[in-house]
């Protein structure tokens, strides 16, 4: 059984069809990089996995549970699928440490002491131990995003979903976030990443998916697909992002 299974999954916003009967299976340990022009449905596809967008057709099974189940079942999926957002979305009233400890306390029911000692280890992992007591507004964008990754990891998910994690960052800050992601991939974390970072896709990705008009148009090994784009549309796209 695959950890994520799309079965003819569709998503409509009113009359607009954003996902068009997508079939896709993602295995544990894969690092899937999703690329595509804006409006192609790549972010929507990602957001359907943890139910931030409700699917309108077909089915989508995550770790054996359908996202259609809703309620407690959906929350169970969300605990298994951590998400990192383009805009970081750190809780501004909490320090970095409190942000990371929040999930374990409120979702997994850990005590404050337990949650914070774990959170400190995660902050150390993303290289921000000494920034633990800073509030988000006192951190750079790259630091905020690394805290956000630590926050998502703190709930101990099986899959990590990244929605354009470096798009809001200056070029020199992108690398520190990408390095953390690279490290995660090396540890064997299953990852689905929407990004325009082709070097990351090539070096870290185990699978590259190119989306167009709500459908998967190319699905293959990153290095091969990038070296030999199987469609003109993808070749055009790659020229524009690199």
């Amino acid at each position: 059984m695959s950890i994520i299974e799309f079965h003819k999954t569709s998503k409509h916003f009113g009359d607009l069809k954003v996902l068009d009967e997508v079939d896709l299976a993602i295995e544990e340990g894969e690092v899937v990089v999703l690329i595509g022009p804006s409006g192609s449905g790549k972010s929507t596809l990602l957001r359907c996995i943890n139910g931030l967008e409700q699917i309108t057709g077909g089915d989508l099974i995550v770790d054996g549970i359908s996202v259609r189940a809703g309620g407690r079942k959906l929350r169970q999926i969300r605990q298994e699928a951590g998400m990192v957002f383009q805009q970081f979305n750190l809780f501004p009233q909490m320090t970095a440490l409190q942000n990371v400890a929040f999930g374990p306390r409120k979702v997994r029911g850990l005590s404050r002491a337990e949650a914070e000692s774990q959170a400190l280890l995660l902050l150390e992992k993303v290289g921000l131990k000494e920034r633990a007591h800073h509030v988000p507004s006192a951190l750079s964008g790259g630091q905020q995003q690394r805290v956000a990754i630590a926050r998502a990891l703190a709930v101990r998910p099986k899959v990590m979903l990244f929605d354009e994690p470096t798009s809001a960052l200056d070029p020199e800050l992108k690398q520190e976030v990408l390095n953390v992601m690279r490290q995660l991939a090396q540890e064997g974390m299953t990852m689905v990443v929407v990004t325009h970072e082709m070097s990351f896709a090539r070096q870290v990705g185990s699978r590259l998916i190119f989306m167009e008009h709500g459908k998967i148009s190319v699905d293959g090994h990153p290095a091969e697909v990038i070296a030999n784009p199987p469609s003109d549309r993808l070749r055009d796209f790659l020229q524009h992002v690199e």
Binding site: R75, A81, N89, F91
Partner: protein, 218 residues
Amino acid sequence: MEVDWSVVPGFLPQLAAGARVTILIALAGLIGGTILGLIAGLMRAYGGRVINAIAFVYIELIRGTPIVVQVMFLYFAMPILLGIRMDPMSAAILAIVVNAGAYIAEIVRGAFLSIPRGLTEAGLAMGLPQWKVLTHIVGPLAFRRLIPPLGNQFIVSLKDTSLFIVIGVGELTRTGQEIMASNFRAVEIWTAVAVLYLIMTGTLTFILRVIEKRMRIL
């Protein structure tokens, strides 16, 4: 008739008693109004179509009619319509609850909806239920944005209690009116009444400023 401030001290105990009634109505009314406003505001912000519509009708009904009409309705029309008779004091408190509740509902709705959607998504994505996202993430942030407009509404409602003169509640304005009727010291008495209102609203402003200073708006 000459202005003679020496008459004021003699009436101070009476005026203070009136001010006490004003404070009691405002305090009870605003506690109730804040609770009602919180509920109605959250219904507006997060309720489904029906729940939202119920809150909307309530808010529009109250915002669209004068508070004097509302209290007259509670005091004179309710006994006839529903057989519910209440004393002037209860009618006054209820009028503030219902009236302030409607305005506070809109303040609450605005504050909650002004918190970026991404923070709610971050909470939901961890697997938190919606209510925990509201109480732990959005609520504390919205509360900070709530304070300035809420303070404004508290001051408006406190002063609105003076309108309950129409149903004969012995609050500060009515007390002033009664003293006036016996001695015609308009300048002295109305100045004293105004100063007492200023002391009350000033205290409110001061408390709110302290709270605001302690909580940074994020």
